[in-house]
């Protein structure tokens, strides 16, 4: 039964309202970041970009950004490598414990991250490791590596194993096949997985909270300031972090779109 015109309109409006609902708090944060007053109240009387200037000059901020960035980059690199092999085990090869493996890697995603963070803290402690940003990398991996694996798996499901078999029949070894056939075929999935891994690590707070020791990531610092002692830099840094993430996503979407139109144009010429 085709949906009636009025129902369709109601559904579109509903969809737009849900998007508005998701982004309304960010609008407030954005307004707060350009308010001149130290103690915020709406409607905003005087606008200024003074807090952005302070954020750029502050050495605390650059330290936070360096820590967050280092953690996110390491998590991304490790997750993508692990996810490449994980996805093959998840979707491509028919082996004995495949369904068990599929279900086990979902478990960490279901777990409350705060509890995972605390469990990791005790584990590091009983091993005699002092928590720092390096332990936070391990903590992020628990949650992000399985997600990256799922993303690459979607791609791995859609490729034809006959391509690998043909290469094998022509005498290619396992490594050659992985490098020349499997890797290029899974590449789009790995790029999305890398993007997800980076952004999820960049914004993660519950796992970092207990595992960074004396170091601090940007979301942790923001939380500390929210719960005790407001700082006018909170909305400013929030906006900067969000804008950074969104620019990265938009760049990625634009590159993907350009590559596709380029390929289609070439296909049309042939």
């Amino acid at each position: 039964m085709p949906t009636s015109r009025s129902t369709r309109i109601v559904l579109y409006v509903y969809g737009i309202l849900v998007i508005a609902f998701l982004y309304l708090p960010l609008v407030s944060v954005a307004f707060a970041s350009v308010s001149r007053a130290r103690y915020l109240s709406f409607p905003i009387k005087r606008y200024s970009t003074k807090w952005y200037g302070e954020a750029v000059e502050s050495s605390t901020v650059s330290e936070l950004l360096t820590t967050s960035l280092t953690v996110a980059v390491l998590v991304t690199v490790i997750s993508v490598v692990v996810a490449f092999f994980g996805a093959l085990a998840f979707a491509r090869y028919q082996w004995r414990y495949r369904t068990t493996f599929q279900k086990l890697i979902l478990l960490p995603i279901f777990f409350p991250q705060t509890v995972l963070g605390l469990a990791l803290l005790m584990w590091f402690n009983s091993l005699g490791i002092i928590p720092s940003w390096k332990t936070a990398v391990v903590a992020h991996l628990v949650w992000i590596a399985p997600i990256a694996t799922l993303i690459v798996s979607i791609r791995a499901y859609s490729f034809d194993p006959a391509l690998e078999e043909a290469a094998r029949d022509m005498g290619a070894g396992t490594w050659t096949i992985l490098r020349e056939i499997t890797l290029p075929l899974l590449m789009p999935g790995m790029v999305s997985a890398a993007l997800f891994a980076f952004l999820l690590s960049w914004g993660n707070f519950p796992l970092s909270l207990f595992t960074t020791g004396a170091d601090s990531t940007l979301p942790e610092w923001l939380y500390a300031k929210m719960v005790s002692g407001y700082s006018p830099l909170v909305p400013t840094l929030g906006v900067m972090s969000v804008v950074g993430s969104f620019l990265l996503i938009l760049t990625a979407l634009a590159v993907a779109w350009l590559l596709r139109t380029n390929r289609e144009a070439r296909a049309a010429q042939n």
Partner: protein
């Protein structure tokens, strides 16, 4: 080919398996052992006495657990109702707009949860985005809805919406249009189609979405701290306090274990019910 597949499958599962054993399984074992240690010790070499589990009942920690589970349940039910029409539209009605919606929702996930919740504080507080403007225009303000149980549930609904929306849309996409059409042709009403065709056939998506939002909400911490102003204490909050201010690792571990058993049980039940190959688009 078969034996080669088996060998390669096992080999390629190893990196992820190592990561998860080192960073997931081992920490959980440590928590389990710590939870039976005497109060306030910091090493694993003590005689177990299970005293932390007694403290859970004696000192009313079960109340926080019940609050957390209750709020998680209410927010899951609200999410089902709120997300159903939208998931339905994403799977069956919208065409290009589904992609726009997906990108918009996924992008919101990349913003740190505490920034988004803080945004709600700025929006809803007295003198915030809504109250401040209404007072400036009409001269009449209203009390802030912040710092109470309903706003915590609101925060849970807000944060976990994507975790319900996407599995639900995936589930509804699995309902064949022909089946619905046939039911209508045989004279079924809209409600009969919903309850007897769509809900049963979309069940895998409903189960995954509900379980995911329930377990994540049950272990949530930031909503009650940032929006709720600690009107009620969530179990995750008690766990954090036991570790930080309380300096009582065995108590924190015991509270974690109780939460882990409940959530782990539900999660295992949930993942055993779904066929991942079917959901994730297996072509062969």
């Amino acid at each position: 080919m078969r034996t080669l597949d088996r060998k390669l499958g096992l080999l390629s599962s190893l990196p992820l398996a190592v990561v998860l054993v080192v960073s997931f399984l081992a920490p959980l074992v440590v928590v389990a052992i710590f939870s039976v240690m005497p109060q306030k010790v910091f090493s694993l070499t003590n005689m177990p006495d299970f005293s932390s589990y007694a403290v859970f009942f004696d000192q009313g920690y079960y109340k926080s657990l019940l609050w957390s589970l209750g709020m998680a349940l209410v927010s899951t039910v609200i999410l089902l109702v709120v997300c159903w029409p939208l998931s339905y539209a994403m799977a069956k009605v919208f065409k290009k707009f589904t992609l726009v919606l997906t990108i918009a929702v996924v992008m919101s996930l990349f913003v740190s949860e505490n920034i988004r919740l803080f945004g709600w504080v700025l929006t809803l507080m007295k003198g915030g985005l809504i109250e401040g403007h209404i007072r400036a225009w009409t001269g009449v303000g209203f009390d802030s809805p912040l710092y109470g149980v309903p706003i915590i549930v609101f925060g849970l609904v807000y944060v976990y919406l994507p975790f319900m929306l996407f599995p639900l849309a995936q589930g509804i996409a699995m309902v064949p249009d022909d089946t619905r059409q046939a039911a209508y042709d045989l004279g079924a009403t809209r409600w009969q189609v919903l309850w007897q065709i769509e809900v049963p056939l979309a069940a895998p998506g409903i189960v995954v979405g509900s379980l995911l939002s329930f377990v994540l909400a049950a272990g949530a911490l930031a909503e009650s701290k940032i929006l709720g102003g600690q009107a009620v204490i969530a179990i995750a909050d008690d766990i954090e306090t036991a570790f930080t201010f309380g300096q009582n690792w065995p108590l924190g571990s015991a509270l974690s274990m109780i939460l882990i058993v409940i959530i782990g049980g539900l999660a295992l039940f949930g993942v055993s019910k779904v066929d991942l190959d079917a959901i994730m688009g297996r072509k062969r």
